[in-house]
Structure formats: C-alpha cells, structure tokens
C-alpha cells in the first residue's frame, strides 16, 4: 500500500538557502544576475524542487549528482554557472506548489528544474506555465504535463514520454499475434503507461487482454500472474516505478512457473531491482530506451558520475536526461546572453540545433508542438537484455528487433 511509503511526504520543505555546488569558481563577482559577470561567466539562478529527503530521495539525488559532476564542465563549455536554489517538497503535491511559488516569486529564479515525479509536476503545470519561465523536466514521463494548446509553451522534457514508449513497444508486444497484458504501478507513472498503451492499441486495431495494477510495496503479485495465465497472456509489459515492485512481479512469475514469450519494461528496472531479484527472474526481460547505456555519450555521463561522486548513478536514465536538459539550457542562456530574458531563452531552447550529451549529438529536437527530446522512431531506440550479472546486453535497435526478433 502506498499509504505509508509516502508517510513523510507532507513534512518539511526545508528551504535550504543555497545548495552549495562544486567550486563556486574563482572570479570575483558571481552574483546570480543572469548576465555575464566580469569573468564573462553568466551565473544563472536555477530553482530545483524535489524530494530531498524521505523514501523518494533517489529522485532528487540524480539531479544532485549531475550538478556535482558536471557544473565545471558547463562553466567551461558555455561560460554558464549554476547557482542552485533548492526546495524540498517531500514528494507532496501541495508542498511542491508552495515550493514552486517560493522559488518563482520570492527567490526569483531564472528557470525551474523538477519536480522529478509526474504527480507533483501535474500539480504545478498550470502555475509554471502561467508564470512564464523556462521549465526543465528531466524526470517525468507523463505527456500530460505539457499542454501544447498553450503557446508559447515553457516546459521541456528530456526523458521520453509514455506515448513514445508505447509506440515503440506496441509493435513489439503485439507481434506474432501475442496476447498482451500490462502490470502497472498504482501511481502517476503507471497509470499514464496504461492510458497510452490502451490508446496505441486502439489506434492500431489491437486489444489489451489484461490490465493489472500493483500497489507500491505490495507483498505479492500471485493473483496478477494467475490472471495473466488464465487469460492466455504471453506478452507482458511492466510499467512499474519502483524496481522492488518489479521484483515482486518477476518473483511471482517464477513461483507460478509462468514464462511469457515477451517481457518488456522500462529503464526503471535499473534502480532497486537487482538486489532483490534473481538471475532466473530477469533472464528474459528486455527494456527499450532511446539512450545507449553501454557506449557513447550517454554511457560517458554515467561513467563520469561514478568517477566524480563515487556513487552509482541514482537513476541512470534520469542522470543522463538531467545532463541533457542542462546542456540545452546552458546553450540557450549563452546564446541569449541574459538568463533573465525568459522569452528569448525559451525561444533559444525551442530552436536549439544540437544537443550534446558527451560526444553524442541530437539535432533539432524541438518544435513548438514537440518539447520532448526523443521521438518515437524505432530506429532511434535500443533494446537491451540482461546477463547473469544484471549487466546490460545490447540486442539491437527497436526497429531491428521488430524485423529479426530479439
């Protein structure tokens, strides 16, 4: 039951004055004026909101790790320094609302990053849009957060959206006439997954055979697996936020000797799953993601994080997406020369030509109606499996897997 796992959300939004970053750099004047100081470096006041403490703290940690690892890099590359002003919302939506209010109105931040969770983002979507400042969203996957009817639009997402992943997965799940079942977590992420899978299915003349929900922290998933089995599901998608809950599902599968032909899930499995599952449970699981975790720029980001912080990336997919959004924003600020000119910065972001993630580049990702970094072209997505040690094994692009099978 998710009731107690969020037991402390409501408490404390500790307004820690300044999250001291890496070296605040030499140079004399680094007041966050938003324009270039004497050393030519623009100091940007970046508001960051998320669950700094409590059970969901991993969702803040990846942002921290990104700042810790890469602020120097951004200063070098783009002459942009981040002055972080953070607020702890304990993952409570109304706290997020207050925190965002404070950041925007009292602290006067130049841009807002986070919250990392879909539910909290939905709570403040309206406000941020009306407040008209750049909104950096490296975390959430829910499409619903950005309402393209409102133009100009201020939110930018560097994670894939649930509509996209369903477009990629849909073909795969229903290939060879398989019967598809989804198990989704009872939260914003999970329900959004469900909605988009159903939409895709409808649009493409398919039907979802089974829809099962799992409560965060549930003790077992036997009934879910039984229902899959009974309805003949042989192709399963797990849209589950917490790796531990994914483990509960795969454990139930093993217990019931249930081996569907296809088991797909998202990058969420990379966190908190391995420790509590067995190789026999993950041997058939595959994930799709537009990022390459094994080589190239994306992998470089993760390696850097490991090196600099000495820790594992808290949420690998999101570590990468945080890097991406900061790259985009820093480029835009450098181009405009003034972080306080929100309109211009937003336009610059929308018009950005090349996004650099390490040495990986993504060209012209945005249009006024599309503020999502990735797209749903199967050729741009990668399929991974897992080996005995839970290391990722690249199986090919999503397109290849559709053609030849993976």
């Amino acid at each position: 039951m998710n009731s107690f796992t969020r037991i402390h959300k409501r408490l404390v939004t500790a307004a820690v004055a300044v999250l001291a970053l890496s070296a605040c750099g030499g140079g004399g004047d680094d007041d966050a004026s938003g324009t270039a100081g004497a050393d030519g470096v623009i100091t940007v006041k970046l508001g960051v909101v998320g669950p700094k403490s409590g059970p969901a703290s991993l969702y803040y940690e990846y942002m921290d790790q990104t700042f810790e690892t890469f602020s120097d890099d951004f200063e070098e590359k783009y002459d942009v320094r981040f002055d972080i002003v953070s607020e702890d919302d304990q993952a409570a939506p109304e706290e997020t609302a207050r925190a965002v209010s404070r950041l925007i109105n009292e602290k006067g931040v130049h841009a807002l990053m986070g919250p990392p969770l879909s539910g909290n983002s939905l709570q403040v979507a309206d406000v941020v849009q009306k407040s008209q400042l750049p909104w950096l969203l490296p975390g959430p996957n829910a499409d619903e957060i950005i309402n393209y009817d409102v133009q100009p639009n201020w939110g930018f997402m560097t994670n894939f959206t649930n509509q996209q992943i369903m477009a990629i997965l849909g073909e795969r799940l229903w290939s060879d006439g398989q019967k598809v079942g989804i198990v989704y977590s009872a939260d914003g992420f999970g329900q959004s997954n469900l909605e988009h899978l159903k939409s895709w299915a409808e649009e493409n003349g398919h039907e979802l055979t089974a829809e099962e929900t799992i409560q965060p922290g549930a003790s077992d998933a036997n009934a879910i697996i039984k229902r899959f089995k009974d309805s003949g599901v042989d192709s399963v998608f797990m849209g589950i936020t917490q790796g531990a809950d994914t483990a509960t599902v795969t454990r139930a599968m093993e217990q019931a000797s249930y081996q569907p032909k296809t088991i797909m899930t998202t990058g969420t499995i990379l966190t908190d799953y391995q420790d509590v599952a067995e190789p026999s449970q993950w041997e058939n699981i595959q994930i799709v993601d537009p990022r390459n975790f094994l080589e190239g720029g994306d992998a470089w980001v993760l390696d850097q994080v490991r090196e600099e912080t000495g820790e594992e990336p808290a949420i690998p997919t999101n570590n990468i997406s945080s890097y991406a959004i900061l790259d985009i924003y820093a480029q835009a600020v450098k181009e405009v020369g003034d972080a306080t000119d929100f309109e211009a910065v937003r336009q610059a972001m929308e018009d950005i030509e090349t996004v650099h993630i390490g040495d990986l580049t993504i060209e012209n990702p945005f249009t006024p109606e599309d503020h999502v970094l990735y797209d749903d072209d199967p050729a741009n997505w990668l399929t991974y499996g897992f080996d005995k040690n839970f290391d990722l094994v690249l199986k090919g692009t999503a397109a290849e897997c559709l053609e030849k099978g993976c």
Partner: protein, 672 residues
C-alpha cells in the same frame, strides 16, 4: 467541615461565593462578542500581506490557505476526539471527499459554486452518518480501526476512480482540457486562488472568514450544554444517557458535524490550490490532523487552531532542517534525525511535558493558579443550612411534575402511586437476578431497598433507570408505562439517579458538573448551541443561578471552581446529588449513597434526604446502612436472591427474622 456535617451553621457564608462572581467581569454576550471580533480580526490580518497580489505573498497565502483547511478539519476532529473521546483516524477521508466532491461538482457537474460546496459538505455529512451508525457500538481501538479503514478506502477510490482523474490529477488535460480548476464566481465576484503574481487572491477572504466563523461556532458549541453532552459521552455513555442525552443521536450528530468540517477543510484546499492530486490525501494527512488536535490541546477550543497552525508551519519551516544539519555536522552523518523524526521527537516531548497540548497546559496553569487562590479552607458550608430550614423554605427546589406528564397523567395519578413497579424480573443468561419484584413509591416518600450482597438491589435500580431491559413486569411512572425505556427517556420522564461510585466529570469544575445535570444537556438543539441566540444567554443565566442554589443546598458553593476530581469523597457524593436535582426530577434513585461516608456525613445526608422528601421528591434509596434506613425511610423493601423478602416500615422489616437470617445466616442447627 464536610458538606454533610450535622452541625448547624449559625451564619451563612455570604462572602465566600468567590469563584462564582469574580471572574465574571464581563458579561457573557460581551465576552463572546469580543472573541468573535478577535477571531475575525486575526483572520483578516493573516491575509493582509496578500492584499495587492504581490508575487512574494503568494506562497504565504497558500500557506494561510493550508492552515485554514487544517484548522477547520482539526476543529471538527476535536469535537469527536477531544470531547466525545472517539479517536477517529478517518478525518483525512472526509477532507478528501470534500475536496474532490466540490471540485467535481464545480467542473464536471457545472453547478453554481455555492451549491457545489454545499453538495460536497452534504455528501460528507451523509457518509459520516453512515459511518457513525455502523460504528455505534465501537469504542477504543476498534473505533479507530474502522475509521482508519474508511480513510484508506477513500484514498483507494480516489486513486482508481476514473471520473476523478486518478493519478493524473483533477482536473487533468485529457478529461478537462486544463490542469487548473477555473476560478469560481460568486455574486459576480471572481474568487482567484493565490497562484500568479499580480493577481489578488480574492478567494482567501471567504476562506479565512469562514475559518473564523467555524472557530467561533465551535466555541459556542463547546461551551453549551450540547458540548457538555459530548463530554458526558466521552466520560461514560451510560452516564450521559442518565443525564437525558439520546446517545445514539448525539453521536451521529457529532460525527456528521466532524465530517462536514473535515470536508470543509478539503473544500478550502481545492479553492487554494485549484488542482488535486490523490497523493495529497494519504494516511499521513489523517495522522497530521490528529497530531494537530493533540499537539494543540484536545478538548479545548483554541487547541486545534494552535495545533493546526503549528503543524502546518513546522511542515515547511527551516528550523528543523537546520537541526538536522547540525546533527549531521556534529554527531554523525548517517545516525541523525531529519524533519519527520524530529517531529516525532517533538511530539513525544509534548506528550511528556505538555500532555494537555499547548493550549490545554497553558490554560490549566492559568486556572490552576486562580483556583488555588480561591479554594480556601476545606470546611465547606454544611448541610446544616437545610437542616435548619423548614418545609416551605425556598432553598430547596420543589419537585414539580413535568409538564408533559401532567397533561398525560393528571387524572390517572389520583389515587395511584407516583411509581409503580409490578412483577419486575431480569434474567442474565441462566441467572435470574431479579424476579417478581413489586415496588411503589409516592411523592414525598422515601422507600429504602435493602438486602445482602448479591440480592439484586443494584440490578433493580438499573432496571428502573433503563440500564437493563426487564425480562418481565412493568414499570409505571406518573401513569405512564416506562417499562424498557432507554435511560435517557427515563431521565427525561423525571427520574434522576446517583451511582454507587460517584460518576462525575473529574476534570470539569464543580459548577460545570452541576450544569451538566440540567435537562438542557440532552435537549438543547445544535443550532441553538452553535448560534447562541439571546434565549440561549437567558437560559444560561437561569441555569447558572439555579446551579448556584443547588450548590448552596449541598454546601458546595465555595468549591464551584474546583476540579470535581479533587473533591473529597463526601463532597463528590453531594455534587452528584446536586447534579441529579438539576435535572428537575420527581423521583430520585440513590444507589448506596452512604457508602464511604463518615458518620457525620451520613447524618448530613440523612438531613438532606429528609428535606428533599419534605419538598415533595420521591426517593428510592438502595442502602446497607441500617441506621440511616431506620431514620429516613417511610417504607422498606428487603430483597434476597432477587426476590421480595420483606416489606413494611423500618421497624417491621428490620426486626423480621427472615431479614436477619438473610443477612446473618441461620444458626447452625437449622441447617440440617
């Protein structure tokens, strides 16, 4: 001297009516008015910073909105938890229902905002009524569990029910094309939430004004007889019933009231934030409301207000984060407590150091000092005042037939007894506790019931006042059949009672205890208690004057401000009698009144009872104390093993061999 002392007093103590008069520098209407004004002023001052819609005030206005919501929810819970002592863990559920229902009625149903809000509150009340009825028999942990289950169910429903948007929030883009609830318009004024800079958050005005009104009304209720009935229920439902309170109805009413207030809190949250996410309405919300009540002081008027403000403020203050940081720096960087843990510690400290909560502890300290100053010597006025009075003295209220029974039974009562018990029997499973008992008593008569332990005397008393339903027989009072009526109905019919061990409200003052005895405790309607019309003030003054008379009668007027729990036993007994008299009974059942009294006190008791008889009261006295019985009883009934053993004048019965045998046993030879 104890109140039941035999020694007559020579001079009445005029100057000692201290506690009754001194604190009353201001008249009640003036004090109430001042409180109301203060509440409204504070409410408006709270939103003053936001009057020009400055961006920097938005977060503060949101905070005020959250505090207002928490205040009304806590006030509602306090009525249930603090007064009626029903620990509900479900207030968060009503909060959620209020929030979502009002939003849905406004947006999806398109109702006028006032109607939507009223509808939401009505829904909360209805659900509250259902839960109340379902949980009527429950107290303690079971009651808490069922309310907790309700809150969990509500949360589940919100998570899963598509019309409410589920975890996409309400409103959401897919279903409504927007993620923000449109600002509502009432009487042409648009009520904006605190959201965007340079928009004045006009919705804050009705929110805080309503909050102030809720606090004012809750104060009225708490200090009214309706409020005392809640305390009575909290103390002992059986006692409350004997004070004329229809416990079932009262419990449902207070539950409904608490649910409506919880729902109002939810409505405020909808108005302030204009978007709802189910994650907000989790179990922790309901626990926070409980914490607010206890932290601030449950059972006090301002407690929930202080507690709510405190808890919401703590939620987002820096202080705890700094303490947490200190620990990390100086103690250990993994073994430290951050805010949730610190709140827990704070809470435990409050429980230790300020068990009555902030407001409760403060007010106890203040009144404690006042009372100590007035307590004076423990030689209260004696009952002797009445002993010296004759039959037509005004000190004792006359026993007047109740208006309702006068009309009903006027003709019938001529020639018949006031109370007539025929063939009364009670079986508990296989045990026949009482069988075939007859008893009658008239006005101005004392009928004593004696018998060895286990004879069924107390059962008889309980049968009379409706604690048990008779298995057989009838009880007719003033010509009316009251067989099997519930205790509150029996009390309202005109039968008062005292108990084997004095059942008092230990924490309340002597005066408050006496006031609880008045029929108003059961009879005052909620609207009158809440709105306090002038008739209520008049009645309050009447009750106070009458209560003072009764306290003088039993010699307690000097102790009016003392906690009843601090009284010596004899005075507690006297207080119980005064309370019983307040209910204007015609018949009083006294269950072993002399138990535990000193000889002098017993004599004083006897004097009082004789006085009461002289004033037309009918008394049934269950007693062991034979001297007292011999002295005061007109008629004596002796019971043995549930049956009538002997009846007659005291002389007759007390010398009856069978009675002696029942008490002392037969000589050895006769047993063979």
């Amino acid at each position: 001297m104890s109140i039941l002392d035999q020694e007559p007093r020579t001079t009445p103590r005029n100057g000692d009516r201290t506690s009754l008069g001194s604190a009353r520098r201001l008249s009640p209407p003036l004090r109430d008015g001042l409180f109301a004004v203060a509440a409204l002023v504070i409410a408006l001052v709270a939103i003053l910073p936001g009057r020009d819609g400055a961006g920097t005030s938005i977060s503060l206005m949101q905070l005020v909105g959250s505090m207002a919501a928490m205040i009304v929810a806590a006030v509602g819970l306090n009525l249930l938890m603090g007064y009626a002592k029903l620990v509900s863990l479900g207030q968060g559920g009503f909060y959620a229902i209020g929030a979502y229902a009002s939003a849905w009625f406004i947006l999806d149903a398109g109702w006028h905002p006032l109607l939507a809000i009223a509808g939401a509150l009505a829904l909360c009340g209805a659900v509250g009524a259902v839960v109340a009825v379902a949980s009527m028999q429950l107290r303690g942990p079971q009651f808490s569990v069922i309310t907790l289950v309700l809150a969990i169910l509500v949360e589940r429903i919100l998570n899963e029910a598509a019309p409410f948007g589920r975890l996409a929030g309400y409103p959401n883009h897919a279903q409504h094309g927007t993620t923000g609830l449109p600002s509502i318009q009432i009487f042409g004024i648009t009520l904006e939430p605190p959201m965007i800079a340079n928009t004045v958050a006009t919705v804050m005005v009705p929110v805080v004004v309503l909050t102030a009104l809720v606090v004012i009304i809750s104060r009225n209720i708490a200090r009214s007889p309706w409020g005392s009935s809640l305390s009575a229920i909290g103390e002992s439902e059986m006692l409350a019933a004997h004070l004329g309170v229809h416990v079932f109805r009262r419990k449902v009413s207070v539950f409904v009231l608490a649910s409506v207030l919880g729902g109002l809190g939810g409505v405020f949250t909808t108005l302030t934030f204009a978007h709802l996410q189910p994650e907000t309405f989790d179990i922790f919300l309901t626990i926070t409301i409980v914490l607010a009540v206890v932290f601030g002081g449950s059972g006090t008027v301002l407690g929930p207000v202080v507690g709510a403000v405190g808890i919401v403020w703590l939620e987002q203050s820096d202080v705890l984060a700094e303490v947490s940081q200190l620990q990390q720096d100086h103690v250990s960087d993994s073994w430290y407590l951050s805010t949730p843990g610190l709140v827990g510690v704070l809470f435990i400290l409050t429980l230790f150091l300020m068990p009555k909560g902030i407001v409760g502890t403060l007010s106890a300290a203040v009144t404690g000092r006042r009372r100590h100053a007035q307590a004076g010597e423990d030689d209260g006025a004696g009952l002797g005042e009445t002993a010296g009075l004759d039959a037509d003295s005004d000190a004792v209220p006359d026993a007047e037939p109740h208006a309702e029974t006068v009309a009903a039974g006027q003709e019938d009562t001529v020639g018949k007894h006031l109370l007539e018990m025929t063939g009364l029997g009670k079986k508990f499973g296989g045990l026949q506790a009482v069988a075939d008992m007859d008893l009658s008593v008239d006005r101005g008569q004392i009928h004593a019931v004696i018998g060895p332990n286990g004879a069924g005397k107390s059962t008889l008393a309980n049968l009379l006042t409706g604690v048990y339903r008779p298995s057989a027989g009838t009880v007719v009072f003033e010509g009316r059949d009251i067989t099997g009526l519930a205790p509150h109905a029996v009390a309202r019919a005109g039968i008062g009672r005292t108990f084997q061990t004095p059942q008092l409200f230990g924490d309340a003052t002597v005066l408050e205890n006496v006031l609880a005895g008045f029929v108003d405790t059961g009879r005052t309607p909620l609207w009158a208690a809440a709105l306090k019309p002038p008739s209520r003030y008049r009645r309050d003054a009447e009750m106070r004057a009458e209560a003072e008379r009764l306290m003088r009668l039993v010699g307690l007027e000097q102790f009016a401000g003392l906690r009843a729990g601090e009284l010596p036993y004899g005075k507690q007994r006297a207080l119980e009698i005064a309370r019983a008299l307040a209910g204007e009974p015609e018949l009083i059942v006294l269950d072993e009144p002399a138990a535990g009294l000193l000889a002098t006190e017993t004599a004083g008791l006897g004097d009082l009872l004789i006085s009461l008889r002289a004033h037309g009261y009918a008394l049934i006295v269950v007693e062991h104390h034979m001297d007292l019985v011999a002295r005061i009883a007109d008629e004596v009934t002796c019971m043995d093993q549930g049956r009538l053993l002997s009846r007659g004048t005291p002389d007759q019965v007390l010398s009856d061999e069978a009675v002696v045998a029942a008490y002392l046993g037969k000589p050895m030879e006769e047993h063979r």
